[in-house]
């Protein structure tokens, strides 16, 4: 059974419980603390150690009649677990697999840190995790329990310098639990479940919102184009995808390979012929 996330951004209140629950369950280190000045978003982006990220979009404008229009969009971003995943195709070690729940999963003990998945994700989700530093002050687990660090480091922490991203809580799903973020979400903005059911629910939600005069679209419930197919983690948006830092035209990188290999072959054959003439005539 393929499972996934339906993130309904109209329900998000920006509490970041998903971010916290994800960090806690997956034992992910803190990213340090930095004020960005970008609304209430000091997380900024998904990374190797941040697998949920709540975006805050403040929209304020004044119309010609002097009326103030303001809107606050919040959206919890996550790995999309694409039907055709660029990272999975690019991974040279087979560390990135599709698991029995249809999710794209990185096996940290197999990953060799080449970083090719990082540049192959059309959504900019995957990133490398910095080498684990038990002495590091930025690592908040270190302050919780020192003994724990000696014996019970997670595979990610032990290896260091490997790629990291949302696992769709593979371990929780295995024992029948709901992923941590969905469990923690207080408004059901993050909904977890069977994909077919989620898609049906999402489409009904769009209809309801449209009736109420809200312009809502689904991102990734159906094919997003570019060869990627649908997304196992899809979103309900009320503005253009770019507003939420999502691509309007994502492309599956491997679709460019035939053109690339052909061009290289043409160049090689042409130069080989030229070389043959040069050496034969000499």
């Amino acid at each position: 059974m393929a499972t996934g996330f339906f993130t309904d951004t109209t329900l998000c209140i920006g509490c970041k419980a998903c971010e916290v629950a994800c960090k806690q369950w997956n034992e992910l280190p803190s990213d340090g603390f930095e004020f960005t000045g970008n609304s209430y978003d000091n997380t900024s982006e998904l990374s190797g150690t941040t697998w949920r990220h709540v975006a805050f979009v403040e929209q304020m404008s004044v119309d010609p009649e002097g009326g103030l229009h303001d809107r606050w969009l919040m959206s919890s971003d996550v790995c999309k677990h694409c039907t055709n995943a660029g990272c999975l195709e690019a991974c040279p070690t087979g560390a990135i697999i599709r698991n029995e729940f249809g999710a794209v999963f990185i096996q940290p003990d197999v990953c060799n840190g080449c970083g090719y998945c990082v540049v192959s994700c059309p959504f900019g989700v995957v990133d490398l995790i910095e080498k684990f530093d038990p002495e590091g002050t930025h690592y908040n687990l270190a302050s919780l329990s020192e003994s724990r660090l000696d014996s019970k480091q997670t595979a990610v922490q032990q290896s260091g310098g490997v790629a990291g991203k949302c696992t769709l809580c593979y371990d929780r799903q295995k024992v029948g639990f709901v992923p941590a973020c969905a469990k923690a979400c207080p408004t059901e903005s993050i909904q977890f479940g069977d994909l077919d059911e989620l898609r049906a629910r999402a489409k009904a939600r769009v209809e309801t919102l449209t009736e109420r005069g809200v312009e809502a679209t689904l991102y990734g419930a159906d094919d997003v184009g570019g060869g990627i197919g649908s997304l196992n983690a899809f979103f309900l948006l009320t503005d253009r995808p770019e507003t939420y830092n999502l691509p309007a035209q994502p492309v599956l990188p491997s679709t460019r390979q035939p053109a690339g290999y052909t061009a290289a072959a043409v160049a090689a054959v042409g130069l080989a012929l030229a070389g043959w003439m040069i050496f034969r005539n000499a």
Binding site: G94, N112, V118, T243, N245, R256, A268, I278
Partner: protein, 330 residues
Amino acid sequence: MPNLPPNPDDALMGAASRNGRTEAVVPTYYERPMLKAPHWEWNVVTYLFLGGVMGGLGLIQLLAHPERDDERRLKRTARYTAFILAAANPAILITHLGKPERFLNMMRIVKIKSPMSLGVWGLVFYSGAAGANVVRELAVDGVLPRWMRFVAPGFMAPAQALLGAFTAGYTGVLLSATANPFWGSGKRHIPAASVCSGLASASALASLLSTLEGNHAAVHKLERLEMVAGAAELLVLNDFKRASGEYGKPFFEGKRGERLRTYTVLAGTLAPMALNALGQMVKLPKPIDAVRTTVASVLTLVGGYILRDSLIEAGKASARDPKAAFRQPR
């Protein structure tokens, strides 16, 4: 995307009401990058560069005819050099991965859809072919027992050339088949330029070594090959500039563009072409001619390295541009 609702943010940004008309402005998320930049440094640049050079040497060792004395010596030099580079490249990749064992993880699987996986296997097989051909050279030279030349039967020469073409070409596909907007915009140009640049650099390295050996007849042919490959590279880069448009700006414009024009185009291709043309037309005294070849070869090699470095650096800049990332080239 047609019929998009106007973004209310536009009015606040002051971008929408120029000339009293509403312009469609692509919103960004606080102008933050959408994509992750490659974290590739000198080691990956060197890995790609050497992939091109060893690929080119694969062709040169095939072109050199064993029955002409100068080409016989060239064949040997090309094979030894190719093998050394093929042996060095995994070591360079390991400096990037951090631990030697991590290279072995690449050997777990063969994945047709991953240029990184195919490339590593290409490198492994290339090393095999290059190694067999080196054994043959050693056997022919009498260093090893003569019967050992059968380790590399005749078909090993074209095999090394074919694998070489792949090693040079995949270093381009490795970049162009990613989500990076600039790299993606060169889906044909980057692989073609990688092959051309690889052969130009290989010819330069072979002519440099042949000059040191005093094999001037081979240098003459190699420099013609280098000119052809260099000219092809310039044609590809010129067309790439036209075809890549906005996506190509981090590569062709600004500081990186200037560096590319100075080191790769002018000093790295046009200057050696002029020096090589001079060598073809005028018979210079031998010591001066050796200096001419050396300068031309070093310039070509530096230009080839700067080309790879510029590709990587422009990729980093392109990844930081959310507007390019929102609309990825097909």
